[in-house]
Symmetry: C2
Subunit: 347 residues, 2 copies
Amino acid sequence: MSGSFCESYEVDYQALINTIQEKNASTVFIQAPDGLKKLYKCIGEHIIDKLPSIKIYYSASPSFGACDIPLEEIEAVKPDLVIHIGHNKYPFLSREINYDIIYLPAYYKWKPTNDIINMLINELKKYNAEKIGLVTSIQHVHSLKEIAEKLGEHGYIAYIGKPTYNVMMPGQILGCEYSAALKIYSKVDAYLVVAGGIFHALGLSLIVDKPVLILDPYRLQVTYPSSDIKRLKAKRYYILSKLRNEVIRNVGVIIGSRPGQYRPTLIKYIENLLGEHGIKYYLFTSTYLSREQLISIDNAYNLDLYVITSCPRLPIDDFNDFYKPVITPGELVMILKNIMEKYVYPW
Amino acid sequence: MSGSFCESYEVDYQALINTIQEKNASTVFIQAPDGLKKLYKCIGEHIIDKLPSIKIYYSASPSFGACDIPLEEIEAVKPDLVIHIGHNKYPFLSREINYDIIYLPAYYKWKPTNDIINMLINELKKYNAEKIGLVTSIQHVHSLKEIAEKLGEHGYIAYIGKPTYNVMMPGQILGCEYSAALKIYSKVDAYLVVAGGIFHALGLSLIVDKPVLILDPYRLQVTYPSSDIKRLKAKRYYILSKLRNEVIRNVGVIIGSRPGQYRPTLIKYIENLLGEHGIKYYLFTSTYLSREQLISIDNAYNLDLYVITSCPRLPIDDFNDFYKPVITPGELVMILKNIMEKYVYPW
């Protein structure tokens, strides 16, 4: 695939080849998120071209982040080296992985044009925002500096915060980690999330009470999805306020098995919290969680609600319309400790 | 759940409690197929009733057999004991599992009445079948002897074969293992599969050219799904004969990671076979395989066909309508070695 997809992402192929050689690896295991699985071919062909005797296994499983390393697949085929494409190392890996992993980001090749900066400024004017916090997913971290400079030329002040965790890059946020945004909270009038879609903006909006605009480098548009944000917050508060007025007798606690989604300290905390409130609970493990699985469990147990400890985005993005309440650990704390003023996220 | 579901299956609760005590286990991990997940509550309550301090983790993942042990989940929560409900040990486990596993079958409580035996005899008369091979899934193994006796009273001869693998029981077949049927092949005029649904009958029909009737103990009916069987065989031969007339340039080989679905010897054989025929191939690992995953890979590679080495039922039951050919390892052999007369199954 010498075509446009390979060309549209910047991947450090040389570093990859060097590492394979340094590690003296003869088999490699490559994983990428679904949106970047086309890079399998680009990267695979590059490796075979330079090192024809390398055997490559590609993970066919989805990857929702560097939290989501498919341990069972890796331990089946026992590669000399694991290459995780598209993310940097996850700050909260809680399970030991006895394999060398290279985290190989894929940067989207894109430069902010004057056109999109003008669109951005038009939008910022609507909210009287002059001091802007810039945050982004890893695919676009390299564009933040240029956006900041261009905003500066127009009299705006842009801030790029450093995440708490040093495996992450300046301005970088994850679906479950927003310290780069929170660090500059007091300085900014609004946030700009440079990312495709509204996933990161929705997460940030759950924590900050300031406008969260999106600059989408794929669609080349600037938006403020305020109605989506309002609907999301309203939905979460609706679920929580209903639960507060009900007697919670029994709860299903979902435990993830992926190396960054198995969170034993959090699970213990939730177990203690439920125990203190005299609530019966059942522990369910899962690799990935589907609607069918939740229905299957609920058919057996008829529980009052489900708390998902694997990934805080699952209740919000995937199960917000489930026929039983599906909540995050933070939301459980809100209900049981009766702290409804401030939305607790992410956990 | 003291209700009817718990009562409808015979589970050796006493043996279970004894084993937990013998192993001095304080945490147990329980897995059941989706159709038996309601037993989680029955079994869980029984354990807690007898041994109140036991901590139980239940797998929320599907289980398609004893091949399908969720290693990653087990290794996350590190139980003292794993209880796999509904199957006996899988004969072909290829990965080491460093945990004690009890295989705890759940037998459906059911006795063949004169009514259903009469229905069966009426059906057998249509095919002039007087010598009948009895096979079944593990849930119903205990009923075979009584069916055989009742058939004997009516002048029929029933055969119950012993599977090649001693972890399995007399007359027992799996979706991928039919030795109990093949051993009595020369003696019988027809087979009777005692099982819910047509899954096991379809599998058996791919190997034997004799009528395969079903006695369904849940629906209490006897059927011969000959049109389903014909359609299935025609579909498989259609896919294969199309492939024989096309040039196969590149193939996706799907590798499963579950302990009984990772089949390294078979994978090696398929790799060699493809290599000998000058066919390029790519290796993809997967925990479970979904349609979305196949589409995602195919978007990147645009391959000619997919061979699934994890479970031979996936191509036949789940992906027979995929927009690219998805075949079993046995079917790949049929095409490449040009042996089309005899359908090669299971592999």
